[in-house]
Symmetry: C2
Subunit: 590 residues, 2 copies
């Protein structure tokens, strides 16, 4: 037997017991004829002590133990004279009688401490050492707990977890699929699922009533910092259900998860329409931890001789409270440059400093006198000490730019408290987006999303312009500016579905080719249904107030889609290619 | 709102309530001015009644409802005059006030009844209709419950569920991999995991201590009736653990699952060595629900003039109790033919009928007189009315053949009670199998399996013959002749691992190329560890006393690896192939 207790288990009440522990040598030090070793496992750290007067050979052996050596010790628990109140086992230590080195270790390439000296690449390559660090380990344990609580809540709500297949059919819609060549069906391929969307709808046709799954999904997209080629979803679908029943259910899930993992009672989630979110925050995922809401300024800024504003579809601004004294002209110029970067693309940034003495300092002082600026301030609720920022131009683009500025100011001003959680539902998204380039509509959510009930007739009978104003019965859950999940009520009526495919530019044949099995299923008594999917990796990150999903993935890939630890992807044997009836058309790079 | 209750919810205590139900029209019938409709959902069936005297239009509408139409009704619960005690809702019916047809349905291609008229292929193509049938639905709900209970038990035992990656590295060992071409790394491929074996060992090196995952695995093998290209494992690994601690933990899991799903208390699981299993049952997964154990007959059958026996390495038999009177010569000849089929390949079958009158009737009567046969009977515990079956030849082959006969007789004689569950651990497997064809050893389990502690020295220092006798610290859980799971203690010592790779014919370079990342990890303080994996699909099947895992998979593939419902795999666009730097070398078949 390797242990009677974990390294986090022993307390003052165990003093006098003979115990066996196993773990890693976190650190050792000699002090006045004693050798101390911190023995670490997943559960904690226990101090071992070797006394040179009791057993010289043993104490000398202990003095030579390398970091991360794997040890098994037997000894007696005794009270520490010098207690460590920061450690649950800090009242005791083990007076070691026997020591067995279970395995040696090379010196790790970085320190196994909460704060390590290892860079990102090194830690990814030696992920198995990185994971010995408490923050990484705790993230993975947190993730496991979050999955357990998710399953508990959904099972208690009569959801059945059904495993949908991974080897499915490639469809040209949506993101790019990863494909899997089939050996038994030469020249043919499976695709890995981007989501179990069609299967969960089939499960509703099948009468499964309430389905969920915590499931891996795959997208072959160019990777950004916060994207992974494989990621995990909490995927759900319900039949005979209205939108609000779905929102209530998953608001309940979210509250349950916050309560169980963080002991936080979330308030009821407000609902905000997409239109409201865009006009108040310039974003369909507003961070509502702080105000700084958009004020539309056209009315009191246009037709006053400033051509830039006069020619703009929208003039819109925000008020940053109490920072006028802190922001020099240089700071404000830097901010203007930041807004002009290609990622944001603002042409300029108008600001008005509301000085403590009642005067104003503004980039547009030439066009607006103090009285005019005082009028701005009054209309916008700006006071002495505040700064007004304003942008102008085409509506959608300007709102997006001002959203970036609002978030940047929120960060700079410390308004994004990581301990505060502001959830909200964003609802009533547009059903269709008109794409000028391809001269067609795209589904804002996906091709099975239903229009709102009250828009159905307009959809079936309206003209082209009408289609642009249709609202989808779709919804997103947003927490602190992060989209945690989204879903919709689905179309279960064949006529409405045909109309939708028409609008999306599918011919009958294309629709049949790609979605025939689902459309076929809809002929046999499809119930009204709808669902939602949460990004599980992102949910982990948001609950912990961090941005990177990578911290919550055991073995993540880098931005080139590579696993640095196992060094994959890699070449495969010619024999394998031959069996798959494939040729590779590029030479090997060395 | 679509419903106030499910179709399985209402009872006599609800009489008088106004309710709303939604579901499918299971069946309707007219009877004396009344129309009855059975409304079905996942939870049950509720009888609706429409009275032509109350509302003629409504009743006539109800009379015309097609099977599987999706309905929403509102009405009042009332007591049935003609109660149905076989249905939980059988005491009540709904007097319908309003009826809404939520969706129509074409006539299903087979009946949606527990016993359907649909063949396998049709049911697979319309799996979403097949699933509306109670037996299929209940299997999937059972599976969900089994997963929940598995997670509950393992979480309560401090296991952490960690998601390991699906896009990993192809290795030539084991079964064939499914591969996934990487667009971002031209000419390179990921592989889908056959199991998370190396990752779970890395998690032990990482100090995760106790890992589990219910996870999809993939094998590109030629499919047999009971194989699927994607299947699910309960995958586990533990550090600082002995074999018996692992067996106790997973015996505990198995007992928990039987208790929670079937209310069965399993007895403690016996352990049987591989050698014992082979000599007593001719199988490493013996069905111990019945005896009919092997008796080795060399001692009392050889050197008595029957050359076939005399030249055989092994003469071995079984006693089938009490069937002598039931088996005519014709029956026994048929059985002999069955044994001679190429799948089994016996050269013949010796039998001895022990007649009620004390005489014997035997295929080898020419060589053995009644006194000799009486001696067989005495030695083998055969009595009047029994039949002795015997085979002879090379030891391993003969045992395998007799195992087939034993199982066949068990089936024929009704000895395999599907309500009885006989679990056992088979332990002490050989570490290595010598393969004459390739003139090398194969790992019986996998290349990381440790030899038993007491065999380590012999492994490091022994000669070629010694290697054949090494035993692995490996174990299988067998229930009713089905291997539910298996695992082993792993090698955590670099020297032992090198020796094992040597024996398995890996050069240093090959070992490095394929397993470098794991061997590298083992340099940094690998703890002693071991684990196990259960076949989750098979576990579902065994608990339900059936053979086919397909019954417990929502969307299975057929023997050609095709999903008949979504018609995949399929061709992909040339554009997609080009992005992946691939050419297909076979023409499309139409």
């Amino acid at each position: 037997m390797y242990r009677t207790h974990h390294c986090g288990a022993l307390r003052i009440s165990d003093v006098g017991s003979e115990v066996t522990l196993s773990g890693w040598n976190q650190a050792s030090r000699d002090f006045g004829g004693l050798t101390f070793v911190d023995l670490r496992d997943r559960y904690g750290i226990t101090q071992l002590v070797f006394n040179i007067e009791d057993d010289k050979v043993l104490a000398e052996q202990a003095g030579k133990l390398g970091r991360e050596f794997v040890l098994k010790v037997t000894g007696v628990v005794r009270e520490r004279s010098n207690k460590n109140p920061n450690r649950p086992t800090g009242d005791i230590e083990i007076e070691v009688k026997t020591l067995e080195i279970l395995n040696g270790s090379k010196t790790p390439p970085f320190t196994i401490e909460d704060e390590t000296d290892g860079g990102d690449d090194l830690r990814m390559k030696y992920r198995y050492l990185d994971m010995r660090r408490a923050p990484v380990r705790d993230n993975l344990i947190f993730r496991s707990k979050l999955a357990i609580e998710t399953r508990k809540y959904l099972s208690d709500s009569e959801f059945v977890e059904v495993e949908t297949p991974f080897l499915i059919k490639s469809t040209p819609e949506g993101a790019r699929d990863f494909v899997v060549p089939s050996r038994m069906n030469p020249g043919q391929f499976y695709a890995l699922p981007q989501s179990p969307q069609t299967f969960k709808q089939l499960l509703m046709v099948a009468g499964m009533d309430r389905y969920f799954q915590i499931v891996k999904c795959f997208r072959d997209e160019d990777l950004r910092a916060d994207r992974q080629p494989e990621f995990t979803q909490i995927d759900c679908e319900m039949a005979f259900v209205t939108r609000d029943e779905i929102l209530d259910t998953f608001e309940g899930l979210t509250k349950h998860l916050f309560k169980q993992t963080l002991s936080i009672d979330l308030p009821d989630f407000p609902k905000m329409s997409y239109d409201d979110a865009m006009s108040r925050y310039g974003s369909d995922k507003p961070d509502t931890r702080f105000g700084m809401e958009f004020v539309e300024m056209n009315e009191f800024t246009q037709n006053q001789g400033f051509n830039v504003f006069d020619s703009a579809e929208l003039v819109v601004g925000i008020v940053a409270k109490g920072i006028a004294a802190d922001y020099s002209n240089k700071d404000l110029n830097k901010l203007t440059d930041w807004m002009k970067r290609p990622q944001i693309g603002a042409k300029g940034l108008v600001y008005v400093k509301c000085n403590e003495d009642g005067s104003f300092k503004s980039t547009v002082g030439k066009f607006f006198d103090d009285a005019a600026l005082q009028n701005w301030a009054d209309k916008m609720g700006a006071e002495k000490g505040d700064i007004i920022f304003a942008l102008s131009g085409e509506k959608d683009k300007t709102r997006k730019q001002l959203n970036e500025l609002r978030l940047e100011m929120g960060r700079k001003m410390g308004l994004m408290d990581p301990k505060q959680f502001n959830p909200l539902w964003v609802v009533d998204f547009p059903l269709l987006e008109w794409d000028e380039d391809s001269n067609r509509f795209h589904a804002m959510h996906h091709p099975f999303t239903a229009p709102k009930k009250e828009d159905e007739q307009r959809m079936l009978t309206g003209d082209h312009e009408t289609m642009k104003s249709l609202r989808a019965d779709a919804y997103d859950l947003v927490i602190n500016g992060v989209e945690i999940g989204g879903g919709s009520i689905r179309i279960h009526d064949r006529d409405l579905q045909s109309k939708n495919f028409d609008l999306l530019g599918f011919s009958k044949e294309e629709a049949e080719e790609q979605f025939g099995f689902l459309l076929g299923a809809f002929e046999y008594g499809a119930p009204p249904h709808g669902g939602i999917a949460f990004g599980f990796d992102r949910l982990c990150a948001v609950l912990n107030g961090v941005n990177s999903i990578r911290d919550f993935i055991a073995f993540p890939k880098n931005n080139q889609g590579r696993d640095m630890m196992i060094d994959t992807p890699s070449r495969i044997d010619d024999e394998q290619l031959k069996e798959l009836n494939l040729d590779v058309t590029v030479a090997e790079k060395e």
